[in-house]
Amino acid sequence: MVATSDIVIEVRDLDFYYGDMKALRGVSLNIKRNQVTALIGPSGCGKSTFLRLLNRMNDLIPGTRVEGQVVFEGKNLYDEDVNPVDIRRRIGMVFQKPNPFPKSIFNNVAYGPRLNGIKDKKRLDELVVRSLKQAAIWEEVKNSLDKSALSLSGGQQQRLCIARALAMAPEVLLMDEPTSALDPIATSRIEELVEALKKDYPVVIVTHNMQQAARVSDDTAFFYMGEMVEMGNTERLFTKPEKQQTEQYITGRFG
């Protein structure tokens, strides 16, 4: 099976273990280009675990084991010859809690490009400005690029973290409940941003908030107890779920 051109990541029969605990069972799904894919499901069902498998962040947790394949641009991420560091440069990630570095706003965004060896001040300037604009935070910080990132509000910090990820020019953007620590206004700004980003970046977003999934995503995958129960067009999934567990979840009967 060759990945067709509208598929950027193809997950096949993925199992994942934390030590002896099997956290994911036989997950298969496709992430498409120019789309927002939402991962929903009750807490502890394995959404974050799954997301972190897409950029090999789980490699950092000792005692974990992966079986199955994550094919990204035609290549299994878990092949022997793949360097996880390269993968993380190509697949960006935004975390649940905003986690800017205790550095200036500029240095936060320039962090990734500098890792890539970009030293030229002009190029860094350009990249920083462009990324901040893309993350819709430029207007708010353009006069205070030297100020500490920690002086920003939570919502601003999260958009800064998005800018920081975008500065790497990632091929995919992963977001793990990026608004769960934010107030409603900051949340809606991030949601608008996600909408705007999808034309340039495939976005995979974990959310425990079904309204959010419905608002921002094109496709939705429903996870339950380590399995991917159902995936499909978001509107279809929310209006005509095929599986009973999906229906129970979206009608609020559990989780």
């Binding site: 570095f101 205790p102 962090y111 920081r164």
Partner: protein, 231 residues
């Protein structure tokens, strides 16, 4: 014994303090990086930690004799700033390692995670995120240790200090006068106690002020950094 002044002793103590910091800081920080970021739990790590704890408990005169045997005699540095700095450096090494490890522990794991997720290697993450964030803690803890070293007599009496020299040191292989040793000699070897006692007390005052100054400096760094730090 009443002439000459203590300026050379102040300078000597200053050089020894700087010298021992130059040795203990890089070595201590590097050790702490290994211990807290790279080493795997196991018997080896436990052994190393035990060694460090014991090192912290070794009487300072033993460091002095060890420095005499290793640096002064065996390595042939002679009684010198270099030998004294190395000896004092090893004396404060456990303090620096302890302070650094504690400072690394305080760096939130979310910083490390953010850096790694951007495709930084572990080493890049340590150099660019962990170390800068931990530096205030490393410095504060270390400076307190260095303040202690500045007042020690035993480690330098065989390795660096001389009672009297008119010359200021011109090379790391020169001997120096040093405040603590000066006090020791004034207190024990005087033939005109009544004349040297005021000098002795004066020197004590200078030394105490110096150590106090170093400690206050450390505390200022700590409070300033605490105020800035909001994670």
């Amino acid at each position: 014994m009443t002439k000459g002044g203590i300026f050379p002793a102040i300078i000597g103590t200053f050089y020894l303090t700087i010298g021992s910091s130059l040795i203990a800081l890089p070595l201590g920080v590097a050790s702490a990086i290994y211990l807290s970021e790279y080493a795997r739990e196991g018997w080896l790590l436990r052994l190393i930690r035990l060694g460090i704890q014991n090192l912290a408990g070794v009487p300072s005169v033993v460091f002095g004799l060890y420095g005499l045997a290793l640096f002064v005699v065996f390595l042939g540095f002679g009684v010198s700033i270099l030998a004294g700095s190395l000896t004092l450096g090893f004396l404060i090494l456990p303090t620096v390692i302890g302070a650094s490890e504690e400072a690394f522990r305080q760096v939130p794991s979310t910083f490390r995670e953010a850096s790694l997720a951007l495709g930084a290697t572990k080493f890049q993450t340590i150099c660019r995120v962990v170390l800068p964030s931990a530096m205030p803690g490393v410095l504060t803890g270390s400076i307190l240790g260095i303040g202690r070293a500045a007042g020690e007599t035993a480690p330098i009496m065989f390795t660096a200090a001389t009672f009297y020299t008119k010359h200021l040191p011109t090379s790391p292989l020169d001997q120096v006068m040093a405040l603590p040793y000066h006090i020791y000699v004034l207190a024990t070897s005087g033939t005109h106690i009544d004349q040297t006692r005021p000098l002795q007390y004066g020197t004590v005052l200078v030394l105490i002020s110096l150590v106090l100054g170093i400690n206050i400096f450390a505390i200022i760094i700590r409070t300033r950094m605490r105020r800035k730090k909001t994670w």
